[in-house]
Amino acid sequence: MREIDSNEICQGVRDLAIGAAHDLEPDILEALLAARDRETGELAGNILNVLLANANIASRDRIPVCQDTGTGILFLEIGQEVHIRGDLHAALQEGVRLGYEEGYLRKSVCDPLTRLNTGTNTPAVVHLDLVPGDRLTIRFLPKGCGSENMSSLVMLPPAAGTEGVVRHVIERVLAAGSNPCPPMIVGVGLGGSFEKAALLAKKALLRPVGEQSERADVAVLEERILREINGQGQGVHGFGGINTALAVHMETFPCHIASLPVAINIQCHAHRHKELVI
């Protein structure tokens, strides 16, 4: 049994929150550079240049990449041989609180009815997975809501089939227009149950940008959906061109014979994510 102190987790989460807001990871930067290099629209190309410069300024001057520093989403994989000393949940929330306060990040969390801001950007949403081993992996995905608001979940009839799934995803993504700050990453959760599909769609965003599904038939669908979305010419910020989406990531899970859940979680180009392994 390995012991990990909750204070170490708290400090780690604080650093993840600050790092994620300021420093884009290589996967998204490379995807934006590749998009810029293949862009045909003049205005879209200019804006991709602005986005690359924006990432540079953010990292250099410690200004958040986007003013919407998001709600905190934490994914934990806890090894079965890990014992956490102290209160894990309290440590996670305190880590988020410290990160948003000390990093000068925007506090965007409020009560859903009164709309009163909690003032701390907490509570963060926490997902726990128990896995074999003696390590603790923490992934932090601050999620801005311009893109989150364009997400959806639908329970299709099984008869809709693969074509129904593809058509639905493309329709939803194109209907989002320029609201989610394209070029976007489209997370698709297919199968499972109502709540499992939504979680799969979000977890799909954790995959390195552009990395295909390990399932060959799913990878084919990802590529087809991406091609069709980009072929519609909405482009960067809806200003035309060929880069409406940077990637489509689809995660699947077996579902009931009567069911075909499809969840779509859209991520903006300011795709912030950081990982810590203890």
């Binding site: 410069a53 924006n54 540079n56 200004i63 958040p64 925007r106 965007s108 072929g231």
Partner: protein, 197 residues
């Protein structure tokens, strides 16, 4: 990672415009045009809109006269000590749609955010002679450099949703809806099917 080492020169063909707009400048804007804004504007998002309309409901005076002004939909991140402001890119405009016609009727000349507006807002813009601009979504760090002064005007307790007055310099934006009823997003969608352009 070969990131851009310095900020490249953008938008050589931008039209330089002073804020608040003169009626002539407002009328000269065309959908799809790139503009570079310098001068004064006001900010407001969800909570500011809700409160402004609540004041109107109560027959009270607004904390600022919006006639002729540009209202920028933004909820900036906090400024580090010694800085003017944190990241300050546009938020999604449709959330303000239900309030916007009322503010346009007060003489608000322009709004700026990201994403398309409702048919009601487009109609109200035509009726009241107002335009809508899009700022660059997700470029909050870049745009913060174009904000030279930020002053709290009202609703301090709304935090990032408060109403600020900004002094901006060469703030880039794209005209989406002009005084003649053109909509740039719609023009792109109509002309650009299948990625021809």
């Amino acid at each position: 990672m070969s990131l851009l080492a310095s900020e490249p020169a953008f938008f050589d063909n931008q039209l330089e415009v002073s804020l608040p707009f003169t009626p002539e400048a407002l009328a000269s804007l065309k959908a799809g045009q790139l503009v570079s804004l310098s001068g004064t504007l006001y900010t407001g998002r969800d909570q500011t809109h809700r409160r402004l309309c609540a004041l109107l409901d109560e027959g009270k005076e607004l904390p600022v006269d919006l006639a002729g002004q540009l209202l920028y939909y933004v909820g900036p991140s906090p400024a580090r000590p010694g800085r003017v402001i944190g990241a300050a890119g546009p938020t999604t405009s449709y959330r303000m749609d239900s309030y916007t016609p009322r503010l346009l009727a007060l003489g608000l000349a322009a709004t700026m955010g990201k994403g398309a507006r409702s048919a009601e807002v487009r109609q109200a813009m035509l009726a009241h002679g107002a335009v809508y601009l899009a700022a660059i979504g997700g470029a909050g760090a870049f745009l913060s450099k174009c904000i030279k002064k930020a002053e709290l005007v009202a609703f301090a307790d709304a935090g990032p949703e408060a109403l600020f007055r900004f002094e901006v310099e060469k703030f880039p934006a794209v005209v989406i809806n002009d005084l003649e009823g053109r909509d740039y997003y719609a023009l792109v969608a109509a002309g650009n099917k299948k990625g021809e352009g």
